[in-house]
Symmetry: C2
Subunit: 155 residues, 2 copies
Amino acid sequence: MAPPTPPDAERLDSLVRRLEARGVPVTDSRRQILQGLIALRGRHPTADEVHAETVRRHPGVGRATVYRALESFVRAGVLTKASHTGSAVRYDDTVARHHHLVCLRCDGIIDIVDERLDAVPVPDPAPHDFEVSEVQVQLRGLCRTCRTQDKEESP
Amino acid sequence: MAPPTPPDAERLDSLVRRLEARGVPVTDSRRQILQGLIALRGRHPTADEVHAETVRRHPGVGRATVYRALESFVRAGVLTKASHTGSAVRYDDTVARHHHLVCLRCDGIIDIVDERLDAVPVPDPAPHDFEVSEVQVQLRGLCRTCRTQDKEESP
DNA sequence: TTAAATGCAAATTATTTGCTCTTCA
DNA sequence: TGAAGAGCAAATAATTTGCATTTAA
């Protein structure tokens, strides 16, 4: 149900290989940024969170560099952006088709893989002369942590 | 396929009635904000866009007042928030179940109503001990306008 | 050796907050 | 007459941009 998570070193290699295959340069800074991102894997970190983690490990990497690198990785099709209703952009290192559980209270996002959700019928021909390239289902609600807090606050 | 759109006056009455029924005060400013929102209906305006439209019609309404009023209307369950990947929050005057076409190029959002999308199966029991309250399908791609521009720029 | 990436600081954009003043039950 | 809303300005948060410098094919 949750996607598999290979070891960090293997994951880094995979990302670097895919970036280079697409002609995206992977400089030292960018490798460090990827390591920061991988360390936060599964948390859908914001660009600022990736920056903080990267600096913690390799001081001196600039915030703008992180923002630019992440965008460039998204353009290369190696990361995706995930977010909702105005929270900061969150980066997702999963490109394969998947869907999201979104917590309406804490803004947390959890990836889920579910064949039945993949099978959502795309209206065809798409309405409004829209050319649909991706389908994503958002299941919104409350995560366990937030639900527990709710009970404590109003018992 | 697209949701029906009643006349503005009727729509205003409906919103005001529902707000009052839920104990949300509808002051003069708030009525003007609702009118601005209705004038932009179907465009999923940002709070700033609603503010600009409201001021155009009734100068003097403050930006913070618009932000606060819109949030209060959402809390009352009369509006919903729509957005994606980091663009500003957009307000949607449709509360009924519906889905979104999202243009990856211009950030535009179009409401769609589709029974087959409503029927998306919610994994049960929901994974990760998540309590799901809403399901929304996003169909992402390019709207007609942006697709046309693509062709002009790279023929 | 040249185009692209970086780092830093300043600028922008979106949104929130503090505070005083007004309003309206 | 007291809680809630309104308006304005300042504060934050998230992101982007300008520019001089460094780096890598």
